[in-house]
């Protein structure tokens, strides 16, 4: 039926590349489907897993807290500034005494900006929001 509609049944079932499962290796020396077995080298390189770090303790409540909003300037700073502005309004409306600080990083999303960390410490911020990517 699908073929009559101009749609391949394979397409609906999904890409065969991803639908199939990885083949199981046959026991060494035994033929698979009558073919002789060959041994090849592995092109992949094992990745090193990162050392685990725990999250910092969460806040017990938001009232009276200072939230530092880091604008990574993802394709420019405007979108995140709009977003953080609306977030600030939301906190003002729903919590008492929440203060926000918005800072744009000096080197964008790829760089580092030690002044941001210094500023977070100096401002005694209680939490941070980093973004916005996309």
């Amino acid at each position: 039926m699908l073929a009559f509609l101009g749609i391949s049944p394979t397409l609906v079932a999904g890409s065969p590349t991803y639908a199939r499962t990885a083949p199981k290796a046959a026991p060494e020396g035994s033929p698979a489907n009558g073919e002789s077995l060959i041994t090849v080298m592995n092109p992949a390189i094992a990745g090193k897993l990162a050392t685990r770090s725990p999250l910092a303790p969460p806040l017990d409540k938001l009232d009276g807290k200072k939230i530092y909003m880091v604008n990574l300037s993802w394709e420019g700073p405007d979108a995140a500034n709009y977003f953080y502005g609306a977030m600030t309004e939301w906190f003002d409306k729903h919590y008492t005494g929440v203060k926000t600080i918005v800072k744009v990083t000096a080197e964008g999303m790829f760089g580092s900006d030690p002044s941001i960390i210094k500023d977070i410490i100096a401002s005694k911020a209680d939490a941070a929001i980093v973004g916005v990517a996309g």
């Binding site: 041994t39 094992a46 090193k48 999250l55 939301w90 990517a133």
Partner: protein, 446 residues
């Protein structure tokens, strides 16, 4: 973004959460957490696209839903900042023992092995030469370097994978190369992996020096087409080693939204040094190498625009090139112009450009672009806006100009390269936005 959030948590000991659109957050919480940060950063997610939207859309996301949990976004933010830590979020210390990749794969039929290579995304989905130990051993005869020598550690998407001479030789076999190609491919490995960006970039590989003729790289007719083994296998090897060594997998850690067909071969070609006009130096000499050095130069960019027109006296070819270059983003002032020898001859003989450098300088002085168009490019927004905000010129001044002001975005003529290739069959040229990095000496890898 995860790197920033981790840094804040580690150095300030305060909760730091990330906000990202749905296209990115799974990468951030999956591959990045596993191989880069080791910290399960809490995220909330907005719809994609986020940037480039009218203000009302971005503001509206705040009152919308979190794309991860489905609950109101700000409720998710509050939960991420105040929710108690789970056992998973408290884990610290050395990671569990990594799963090693065996040097040899278990014996299997050719058909099954081909399927395995495709399932693991180790190929470009064109047929490969299976890398048997005998073939790889034979390939390694092309270099004096030891198989276990580490060329570089690839960590661009995490994992700190050590790319060895042997692993590169495996990719060279898979690409169909011969041992004579290995020094070129090893030089190329120093630049691996290829561009991997949501912006869908690609690479350009230019070969200079006597090795072009020794290995019969095509520098003439069809230099950039599928008509030559050396151009084909070296270009293809870059894709294969990038994917295997970089562990690049579609929708896992390779997020090029359109992808780029140029990644199949990375525009690999040789410069037609023999056809350069007098006074025009080859690319590698212009970038500081000796004429007798064998050099591989790698460029990164996105696109090219072609035209025929060098013979039209009513509008000289460099005027057309200038016009087309104004379409490019000019990130890093980079451009590479690839021209047929006939065009090079006209540019020198008729239009008076005695050197490539003079032509590059002319482009730098004469390519103009509307200010709004310059800042409208997402790459420029990501890279040049921070410079402008930091007061760096000319970006700071450009940001203050009216939208319709004309700027000269190619500020650095040394970043504008001219390469002569082609067979004198047509007055043809490509202007590209590829930025070429300093070359690598191939003989260092012989």
């Amino acid at each position: 973004m995860s790197r920033w959030a981790k840094q804040i948590q580690m150095q300030c000991n305060i909760p730091a959460i990330g906000v990202a659109s749905s296209n990115i957050v799974h990468y951030a919480t999956g591959y990045v957490a596993k191989y880069q940060t080791g910290m399960p950063i809490r995220y909330v997610s907005v719809p994609f696209p986020f940037t480039g939207q009218p203000r009302a859309v971005d503001v509206g996301y705040v009152s919308g839903k979190d794309m991860l949990s489905g609950q109101p976004l700000m409720s998710a933010v509050v939960a991420a900042l105040t929710g108690p830590l789970t056992a998973e979020e408290k884990i610290s210390g050395a990671p569990p023992e990594e799963a090693l990749e065996s040097r040899l794969l278990p014996p299997d039929s050719e058909e099954n092995l081909r399927m395995l290579f495709e399932d693991r995304e180790w190929t470009d989905f064109n047929s490969i030469i299976l890398p048997t130990e005998r073939r790889v051993t034979e390939m390694l005869k092309g270099t004096s370097h030891k198989p276990d020598e580490v060329i570089k550690t690839i960590n661009i998407t995490g994992g700190a994978r050590q790319l060895t001479v042997e692993k590169v030789a495996i990719s060279a076999v898979m690409a169909g190369a011969s041992p004579a190609h290995l020094p070129v491919i090893l030089a190329l490995a120093t630049q691996a992996p290829f561009g991997n960006s949501t912006s869908s970039m690609a690479n350009m590989l230019v070969i200079n020096g006597p090795i072009r003729n020794k290995l019969k790289f095509n520098c003439g007719t069809n230099a950039m087409g599928p008509y030559n083994r050396s151009n084909a296998v070296v270009g293809r090897a870059f894709a294969l080693m990038s994917k295997t060594a970089g562990d690049l997998r579609n929708n896992v850690n390779a997020w090029e939204t359109l992808g780029n067909t140029m990644q199949y071969n990375s525009m690999c070609y040789g410069e037609n040094e023999e056809a350069l006009p007098d006074g025009w130096d080859p690319l590698h000499v212009e970038t500081g190498f000796k004429p007798t050095d064998n050099v591989l130069s790698v460029g990164t960019g996105w696109s090219s625009i072609a035209s025929v027109g060098a013979s039209q006296s009513i509008y000289p070819t460099h005027y057309l090139m200038r016009d087309y270059m104004s379409s490019f983003c000019a990130s890093g002032s980079a451009a590479t112009i690839v021209i047929d020898p006939t065009v090079a001859g006209l540019l020198k003989g008729v239009h008076g450009f005695k050197t490539k450098a003079q032509l590059s300088e002319w482009f730098s002085q004469n390519v103009t672009k509307m200010n709004a168009s310059y800042w409208g490019n997402g790459v420029i927004q990501s890279t040049a806006v921070p410079f402008a905000l930091a007061g760096l010129e000319p970006y700071a001044s450009w940001r203050k100009l009216p939208d319709d002001a004309l700027i000269k975005p190619f500020t650095n003529p040394k970043a504008i390269h001219v390469v002569v290739a082609g067979g004198k069959v047509q007055t043809m040229w490509f202007v590209t936005d590829f930025g070429i990095r300093r070359g690598v000496k191939i003989d260092d890898w012989a």
